[in-house]
Amino acid sequence: FPGLADVSISQDIPVEGEITVPVGSQSPDEDYSTLDEPVKDTIMRDLKAVGKKFVHVMYPRKSSALLRDWDLWGPLVLCVSLALMLQGGSADSKDDGGPQFAEVFVIIWFGAVVITLNSKLLGGTISFFQSLCVLGYCVMPLTVAMLVCRLVLLAGGGTVSFIIRLIVVGAMFGWSTLASTAFLADSQPPNRKALVVYPIFLFYFVISWMILTFTPQ
């Protein structure tokens, strides 16, 4: 440092001060300590986070909120409600009916895990739980479709109701696939995008098929 060669400290300026490291009161955890807050605050914060993600799925834009703050509450709620709504289908024997509760659960979660593993093995940069979170949240349009289908079926079966259900399920299937692709496609290597998108398409297609073929008693 050539400019400092001629700097010297004169003897009559006292060098004084305090050399202590402040302990405790300024630790970075203080701002995020949530142990003392009322339970209602904790629950509302998580609910708001989940709700925000639902809104993101409804209007899929390139936002990082869904990816950054992943949680699995939303997917769990959606999966359970979808599996519950798929119960009560008609069957002459146990073997011929629609999917059981456990089967829906396994298909959704195991399918999501397999797709996530697939995208990671192909060289994707997204983390495991982020991908599970996105895939789970994007089941929401299909859950809405299931609700609509059950309402339409309350009005009666028949060709017209089938066509309405087909259109609704088809539209929601497209929405789900596009929403999840919008979130996940960026993290994939460019020459393998189709290899990653196809399993997602298959996953939502299977769920749509389960919804469309639901026939009540």
Partner: protein, 306 residues
């Protein structure tokens, strides 16, 4: 000798292409061309093996052939080890599917398309698609066949999905295991030119099942003749891929064992497709008594079901 010289020039050409594409690459000698010296030996002994030239091919669809031997070096408990089995691009997967659907006579699927880069993406997702294609098409076809019958009530038959999944995944993974074990055993007794790794066999089986996906969708058509024609057609295509792959591996063996092996491969393949057709798709003409519909003027008209 001229064959040998031309063959060596072809190999140098490949190496030159590769070095031009990637000048920093170090070329090392690795396992896959180990089969080449053996084939050179046999070429000197039996000049009738020119097809091995074509089998090795100079297709540019996979430029990483010479470097392929050094990739599987991660220990098997790390994630990177399994990533080496998914080292394919979209166009490579599409190429392999194309190669399984349009088998070129004389060209070996493994040599031409897999080329020491077997992937697990194709076999796994083709099997998954096939499972759902068969289950969905079977359900749809049963629905159309029984449509209009008064006693019929539609059921989704979801149980059949798990049965389809078990069958197809067992076929696509256990049969290659058995075949690989058998080939390894024969390899220890008879020196073969061509030997395949387990993953290459899984790859061939997986990609050969692709033709059954459009076949399963077309099986919705409720005509027996159409279904059997489709089945024979797809059996020929995928069977030919399998035969052309495995015949070079067994032809050095005892003639009877070679023929028996290839026959067993084809038989299992046929059994799979016949079984799927029989179990998931109801027969188009059912022998239920035709419904009797009273017509307006009081006489009864018996309508024959199609």
């Amino acid at each position: 000798i001229a064959c040998l010289v031309m063959y060596l020039f072809a190999e140098f050409d490949d190496a030159a292409n590769l070095l031009a594409a990637n000048p920093d690459a170090t070329t090392i000698s690795i396992d896959e061309p180990v089969e080449i010296p053996k084939s050179q030996h046999s070429r000197l002994q039996e000049p009738g093996r020119e097809e091995d030239d074509e089998l090795l091919g100079t297709d540019d669809s996979d430029k990483t052939e010479l470097l392929a031997g050094q990739k599987k070096s991660a220990p098997f408990w790390t994630f990177e080890y399994y990533q080496t089995f998914f080292d394919v691009d979209t166009y490579q997967v599409l190429d392999r599917i194309k190669g399984s659907v349009f088998p070129v006579p004389g060209k070996n699927f493994v040599r031409l398309y897999i080329r020491s880069n077997p992937d697990l993406y194709g076999p796994f997702w083709i099997c998954a698609t096939l499972v759902f294609a068969i289950a969905v098409s079977g359900n749809l076809s049963n629905f159309f066949i029984h449509l209009g019958k008064p006693t019929y009530h539609y059921v989704p038959e979801f149980r059949k999905v798990s049965i389809a999944a078990t069958t197809i995944y067992a076929y696509a993974w256990l049969v290659p295991l058995a075949l690989w074990g058998f080939l390894m055993w024969r390899n220890s007794k008879v020196m073969n030119i061509v030997s395949y790794s387990f993953l290459e066999i899984v790859c061939v089986y997986g990609y050969s099942l692709f033709i059954y996906i459009p076949t399963a969708i077309l099986w919705i058509i409720p005509q027996k003749v159409v279904r059997w024609v489709l089945m024979v057609f797809s059996l020929c295509l995928s069977g030919s891929v399998l035969v052309m792959t495995f015949w070079p591996a067994v032809r050095d063996d005892n003639r009877r064992i070679a023929v028996a092996t290839v026959a067993a491969i084809l038989l299992l393949h046929a059994l799979l497709s016949v079984g799927c057709l029989a179990y998931f798709f109801d027969a188009p003409e059912l022998d239920i008594p035709p419904p009797i519909i009273p017509a307006h003027n009081g006489t009864t008209v018996i309508t024959k079901s199609q």
